[in-house]
Amino acid sequence: MDLGGIFAALLDVVGSPYHMLLLLIAVPFGMLFGAVPGLGGKLGIVLAIPFVFGMDPLAGAIFLISMHSVVHTGGAIPSILFGVPGTGPDAATVVDGLPMTRKGEAGRAIGAALGASGVGGVIGGLFLLAVLPLLRPVVLAFGPAEFFLLALFGITFIAMLSGDSLSKGLLVGMFGLMLATVNLDPQTGTQRYTFDQLFLWDGIDIITAVLGIFAIPEMLALGAAGGSIAALGKRSATSYGFGGVLQGIGDVFRHWGLTIRTSLIGAFIGMIPGLGGDAASWLCYGHAVQSSKTPERFGSGAVEGVIAPETANNSKEGGSLLPTLFFGVPGSSGMAILLGAFVMLGIQPGPELALTGMDVVWALIWALMIANVLAVVMFFVLAPSFSYLSYVRGSVLIPFVLTLTYLGSYLSHRAWENLVLLTALGVLGYFMKKYDWPRPPFVIGLILGPIVEDSFHKAMALWGPAFLLRRGSLFMLALIAASIGAYVWQLRNKSRGSLA
């Protein structure tokens, strides 16, 4: 390992006032784009591209990677305070973040998200530094068979996300998978459920689906209840100061095992091209539920339910740099846009980068880690004031969030038809929320659907049904079996406990 080169790159970043200034500008912008529902890191990069045009390639790349790497740190704010995920991967934070706010623990939840994001981002970067020379052949060895089974492995986590009713969870997951087939069939070009609508040819927009299933139902419920998001009664707003935030940060270190595990899982998933960050946060949330001794607390305000997706959200950015930079295969959709921006700046991703551009690679990894640390500091200073937002009357909040929700849906694809889809999914999502249908499996089904279908067809074409007997497939099948076995074992323990 070229330790001299690695630390020279660190000096290049922190020793340059210009690079540090860019980092200081990029971090709040990244957090802002994460915090405003529907904007997200992708739009942030697109909007930033004109500003970095003509910049020194390394400086421009540092600006973009720093901005992109902290999007989910900001995205935790609306997820926790309003139940409105800033971006798709932040949806998992809503599941326990919002109940914590309702219990009057907004500060703690924000602190946990902040600490987890920072630690996750740094671990993700360190992970990449450590495995970069070793894991290159592993990523290359991942074929369609492994992709298919990895996606199925993700879907088995639906069971862990299903709350009390497994059948409802499975149904909602399958509903997501079904809606993922709304598109032009990639095999035959046949229009599936598109009703001759052009905006459906590329499939249902994930941002619209997530906003419809999560944001609109929260606002409808808030308006119907007529109260503020946090049902805090007589508790004073000032109790949500640094104390709560510090407690949340402390929770991250109290659950150090979970923090490290989910950071590593997130970084690993980030490395696998196409699986994306949305899957990382949900898989890590599922892992937190599965590995907990008290899984029944999840969904009603368990701090581990905030820590797990937040660590994964930031750590996967480190992991997804590997395929993006070395194979030119983006690890996520955000990385796909970043890839285009790198090319525009004159950084040509590909195997040649390993031979001639490692100084750039090390600098980007350091920038990613420093941005995460800076985001923690900036966020920590402002965190108590974010908590006050919980006390904003619901009636004042609702029209703004509805406007931003419609805006986010429109901006994601610039198609007004998405507004129709958003409203329909919003109404359905409200009744799902009202009658205890778990909504997270819908999102994971929708995200993994195309991966399942594409990988399955490719694997069948290459190896036929024997693709299941490949070494990587057997490993993934073992993981699926172990996951199902662990769930059944937990159910048995639970029923024995209730009988006793």
Binding site: L47, S167, K168, L170, L171, M174, F175, L177, M178, T181, D185, Q187, T188, T190, R192, Y193, I216, M219, L220, G223, A224, A225, G226, S395, V396, I398, P399, F400, L402, T403, Y406, L407, Y410, L411, R414, W416, L419, V420, T423, G426, V427, L428, F431, M432, K434, Y435, W437, G449, V452, E453, F456, H457
Partner: protein, 155 residues
């Protein structure tokens, strides 16, 4: 026992899910073999599971009290009002676009729907307009949806 006895939101949600799965599975039969593989792979078990869910909800509804079925009247009223506002936001933005409709809707929601102070409504409406027009249209140079009627008038 009348059909009304069974009618409740839980059952209707399950029925809607069943209808979606069945309809999508039937439609999938018209696709070529490769294209229908995945929709049927998820659609058929989904339909069976949804049918089972409908039966479970149907049985559960027999044991529900009238209050459980009808729900809290006040909550229902609030729910209906919110659905009306959601539709108004949807139609308003769809027809008149973000720049014109959103500030008016924010003002109307606050002052008419929630009886907030006129000043609160006005400030909120202005903030919305500044965000949409100032930040997105001017600062970010992102043209926002103008609405079907405005687009038609401009055309």
């Amino acid at each position: 026992m009348t059909p009304r006895t069974f009618l409740n939101g839980r059952l209707l949600t399950a029925v809607v899910m069943l209808a979606i799965f069945v309809a999508m599975s039937i439609m999938a039969l018209g696709f070529p073999a490769k294209a229908r593989l995945m929709p049927l792979l998820f659609g058929i078990p989904g339909s069976v599971l949804a049918l089972a869910r409908v039966i479970v909800e149907l049985r559960a509804s027999e044991h529900m009290s009238d209050v459980e079925k009808k729900g809290n009247e006040r909550a229902q009223q609030g729910e209906q009002q919110m659905f009306v506002w959601l539709i108004l936001f949807f139609i308003g933005i769809l027809l008149f676009g973000f720049i014109y409709a959103a500030p008016v809707l924010v003002f109307a929601f606050l002052c008419v729907g929630k009886k907030e102070l006129l000043v609160t409504g006005l400030i909120s409406a202005i903030c919305t307009w500044v965000m949409l027009y100032g930040l997105f249209e001017i600062a970010f140079a992102i043209p926002l949806f103008q609405g079907l009627i405005v687009e038609w008038l401009l055309a």
